[in-house]
Structure formats: C-alpha cells, structure tokens
C-alpha cells in the first residue's frame, strides 16, 4: 500500500503521522522535542517504522512546524509547509464543514477562519504567549500537578477565581496571590483556564468572526479545562478531534499527497535514523549584518545550510 508521511517539528513536541491515500491514520508518534530536533525526528522515524506493520511504500513526505526546513533537509521532503496551512488542511480532513480552527501549541497560538473549505483569514500570536503549552506546563509543575490532570482538576471547580490574564508573568503573580489568600487549587486552575481563553480571544481572535463548527487542535486541546473555558466563552460546542496531538503531522502528510511528488518522492528512507548529523554554525563577516549561518553536515557532505540575508550561503 502507498502511504504518506507527515512530520511536524514544533517547539515543545514533534509528531509524525503515516496516512493512507484516503487520509486515514495508519500510525502516529508523539515525542518531546527537548531542543534536539534532529535526534527527535530520527527517533520518531524509528517509532513509525516499527508501528507500521502492513507492507507499504512511502510515496510522499511533508514537513511543517518551526523545524520544517531542518526536518525536510534530514529526511528528504516533497512538501515543506507552514503550520497554518497544515492545521487547516488537517481540520478539514476530520471535520469537513469546520469554519473555525483554534490551534494552541507549545509557544504559538493561532486562529484560522475557514469558509466553504477554504482559509479566508488567520492570525497568530505576536506579542504574548500566555495560554500556550509552555506556560501551562510551567504552572502545572509549580502547583505540583501532572499536566495530564490539569484539565480534570479544573473541571472540579465550584467557584472560579478571576485571574488577571493580560500577561503570563502577571497571571502567575496573580495566581500566587490567590493561593496566599486561601483559594483552592481547582478554583485557581479553572480561573487560569478562563483567563487564558479571554487572553486568546482578545489577542489572537480579536476582530475575527468565530462561527461553528469550531475545531480545537494542538497539544493544549488535550486540556479539558481549556476546552470547557472556550465553550463557555464562545457559547458553542468546541470539537477536539481524537488525533488532536497529531493534526499538524496529518496536515503535512495530506499536503505531501496533494503535491504528487514527481517522478518519485525525495524521501531518503527510514535509514536516516541511523545516520549521524552534525550541526554547526558561524557568523558571516561579509558585511555589518553579521548574519548567523548554520549548517548541517553528515560525514563529509553538506546536507543543508541557511541563515544570511543576502542568500550567498543558502544551499
């Protein structure tokens, strides 16, 4: 069977999805990026190769996320696409009549407005990352709660506390203050979910017409407290697809299939997991811009090089 591989290398997590020609998920892997994108992409490939038990061949590879160019250089990709397009395509594959996509990842939050199956508008957080995964992780560990339970604890609240949500750091100060005056952990956690949703709607969603069906994806969609806070604030149901953690990778795989690689895929094969890649960099002294150029090498050969405004280093 011919399958398509999608890789989403994000700031916090890296996910990989293998889909069949009808966009059904055959296998998926979800790993923490840990600041080592190359290593993690290789581990994820190993995991997928082991999970795909049916005989198959890879007919196309797509990459997305902030590490999309790096991942593309390592595995050999046919489609290198931004996260907005990838998430929109994946949402439509799972909820064909979706009209709004809320995507919250490790550090980025996005809103995508769809009408009749086409992106008509989008926005991405630019000045604030309150409410993204990294911040929720930090608060969970500060409160001594496993992040997986954060949402269920929030749902137990009887009496929400209003937390200031304009800035993540001040939200934390406010949470600490609320703890010091004796509010319960579940009330504070639920109040935080509400504050972060308010922040999202006022910053990222400002001026956007949010119409149902609303699809909520990205790592933070796993948080039941955030889902409920969105539903209450919007006054409508919010759909969290079962594969919400893999949606970026599913979108990348679909885009690889749409790209119809000719004459064949550029995929280098699962063996790249065994290859040794070395990354390095230097500061170009060609002009006063002092660009930081980075390169990836494997043995004696240069795999990729980028950075630099003038393009003289681009490989």
């Amino acid at each position: 069977m011919s399958l398509y591989l999608g890789i989403d290398v994000g700031s916090v997590s890296t996910d990989v999805a293998l889909i069949d020609p009808r966009n059904g998920l055959v296998a998926g892997a979800y790993l923490m990026t840990r600041g080592q994108p190359i290593r993690v992409v290789q581990e994820a490939l190993d995991e997928i190769a082991a999970a795909a038990t049916v005989p198959h061949e890879i007919s196309g590879v797509g990459t997305t996320g902030s590490g999309r160019h790096l991942a593309a250089a390592i595995v050999g990709a046919d489609a290198v696409k931004n996260e907005i397009t990838a998430h929109a395509v994946a949402a439509l594959a799972r909820v064909p009549d979706a009209r709004t996509v809320i995507e919250i990842g490790g550090q980025d939050s996005k809103i995508i407005i769809l009408r009749d199956g086409v992106v008509v508008d989008f926005a991405m957080n630019s000045v604030c990352a309150a409410g993204t995964g990294s911040f929720l992780d930090r608060q969970a560990s500060r409160l001594g709660i496993p992040i997986e339970e954060f949402g269920t604890i929030a749902l137990r609240s009887k009496n929400p506390v209003r937390i200031a949500g304009r800035c993540a750091v001040f939200a934390e100060s406010d949470m600490i203050h609320k703890q010091q005056v004796g509010h319960t952990v579940e009330d504070i956690v639920w109040g935080l979910c509400q504050a972060l949703v308010r922040n999202y709607l006022n910053n990222v969603g400002k001026g956007k017409e949010i119409r149902p069906p609303v699809v909520f994806q990205g790592g933070v969609a796993a948080n039941a407290g955030m889902k409920k806070a969105f539903e209450e604030a919007l006054g409508m149901e919010v759909i969290v697809p079962g594969e919400h953690k893999l949606m970026g990778a599913i979108g990348a795989a679909i885009l690889a299939r749409e790209a119809r690689p000719k004459p064949a895929t550029s995929f280098k094969g699962f063996d790249v997991a065994r290859q040794r890649f070395v990354s390095g960099g230097f500061e170009c002294s060609g002009c006063s811009n002092m660009c930081e150029v980075t390169e990836i090498r494997s043995g004696d050969s240069l795999v990729a090089r980028w950075g630099g405004r003038c393009g003289k280093w681009s490989s």
């Binding site: 902030s66 009749d116 086409v118 508008d121 630019s126 002092m290 393009g311």
Partner: protein, 374 residues
Amino acid sequence: MRVTFPRMGNSHIPLRALFESAGVEVVLPPPSSRRTVALGARHSPEFACFPLKLNIGNFIEAAESGADTMVMAGGIGPCRFGYYAQVEREILADMGFDLEMVVLEPPCTGWVGLASRIRKITGGCGVTGLLRAARLAWVKCGAVDEIESVSRKARPVERSRGAVTRAMEEALALLDDAGTVTAARKALAAGCEMIWSATGFPVDDPEPIRVGIVGEIFMVLDGFSNMDVERRLGEMGVEVHRFLSMGEWVRSNLLPKSFMPHEAREMVALASPYLNYFVGGHGVESVGGVRVYARLGFDGVVQIMPFTCMPEIVAQSVLKNVSRDHSIPVLTLSLDEHTAEAGLQTRLEAFVDLLKRRRVMKAAGRTEEGVTPL
C-alpha cells in the same frame, strides 16, 4: 559642512545626487545593519516607533564617519513623525554629539522657511545650480522607482532564486555612479536590461498571484526594516505592486496639487465611506489603496507598519470591513526590532497559500458565504 540624512530604502541615491550636485559634501550613513538597530534601540525611547530608532542609529554611525549636519524632514498632523527631528536632535545632543540639525518642514507650513533652510545647507550654490541639482535628483528618483518596479515584476519569474535581487543591486549601483541626467538615463536603461536578463528569460506564468502593498511609507520603502517583504513574496512567485514610492511622495507633498498622482487622489476619495478624516501618515491611503487593489482584481493586500503606528492602526481597524465588503484578504504586519524572522516568513507563506486556494475556489465558480462578489 558635511551633511548626512537617514537611510530609507534607496532614497539615498537621489538625495546624494541633490546635495553633491549643489556642491555640498555628503557623508552617507552605512547601510542599516544589526549594529544600527542595536545603537538606535539603546538610545531611543522604547515606545517610539521603529523608524525613529533606525534614524538615531543612522545618525550615530554617520557622526562616527565625520558628519556634522543632519538633514531631517519635518511634518504636521497626528502622526508622531513631525516631532522626530526635535527628539532626535535632543537625544544626540544628550549623547554628546556635536551635530547641527536642519529640519525641512513641509511646504504647506510656508515656502519661505523651507527656502531659507535649503539655502542654509547649500550656501554657495546659485539658483541655476540648485535647479540643475534638483533635476538630476528628480531623474534619479524616478529611475530608482522604475528599477524597483521592474524588479518586482521580474522576481516571480526568475529561474534561479536571488538572481533578480542581485541584478537590482548592480543596477542601483550603476545609477548611483551616474553624474549627469544623460548618464542616469543610460544607467536606468542598462539596469532594467540587466534585471530582465537575470531572470534567464523564463516561461511566463500567465497569471501569477498579485499582491498590493500599503502602509506606512518608511517601512514600506525600506527593505531592511520590513525584512525584505517584497523579495520574500517575489521569491514565492508573487507579483508585488505598490503605489507608494519616493516619486509619489514628492509629487503628493512637495509639488503643487496639480502634480498629485491620479492614484493618490483616487485613494483618498475611495477611503471616504470608511475613513473620511486625515489620521496622519498614509492611514487614509492604506484604506483607499485596498479598495483600488480590489478593483484592479488583485488577489490580496499586505499592510506594513511599525509597531505602535497610530495612523496605520486606525486604518487596520477599518480595513476589516473593507476586506469583507470587497472580498480581498488583507494581511497586516506590524514590525520592529523585536520581530522574529520565522514568524514573519510563516505568516507570508500562509497568506500566499490562502490566496492560491481562493483562486482555485473562484475558478470553480464558488464564492464564500456572506461575501458579496464585486
């Protein structure tokens, strides 16, 4: 007297021609770089907009190269720009630079004051000499606009990435070296030829995606500040267009009303149902510009502004309705020294994807719900 002025895109080419032909020594600030930004940001108020920070950086670097007189444009109206020159003079004086600031206020504040300040800079040059210098500068100004415009058309069809941009830089250098009107015209013709041949005479894409650019003029014209938005879009295969240029600005602001370009007048008129008030800068033109681009059948518009830019923020809030009523997507980019390249690139790529998919949908004869087609 060693005169300097801030950098803004390629405006230094006509400006240098103007001063040098009038017999004034010019000390150009080095091209804006990370060092310029670092110096400017360190010595400017945090909430001043990005052009002021760059101006400060430019002036510091020019002073290091021996400049002693700064020439700066003034302004009136709600935009903070009119106060820049004063603030910049004070900042540089506080830093201990011994620089004189000559502010050229717009002619609408009175020709006499403007003329006397020009005389102050060009001291020994007679009226005929001044007119000759102005003519060379005007020809070079038009030539810069033309070279940039040709590059915007050539970029989406270049065979090897970056070839057009390199040819454009060469063409601009040729133009900069030209000392007479005749030589400047020759350099323009040769430059345009170089740019087209740099494309490798490609197969023409019959209908590339077309994007118009509106916004605050400094950020729009200065590729360094807008992180080369035009180049990035062009290299994604997009044909970029803008009405804003130096020549347009001179015709609209320095010459009598009858010289005002037709498009500029049209933009103000078209903006009136949405924004019927002068908000400073090019706020009104940004609103009218989107309507003009919608009429011309463009696929989308990018609005560029410095972070905290009041006129463009007013325009941005109005543009939501313009975009909806005319079914033309608008991407607003608010940029400054804190902008990360990755985020900008992601937004531009997503915007181009959006425009391409809309086209496919239009070709299939579908329009979005809730949108009245033009």
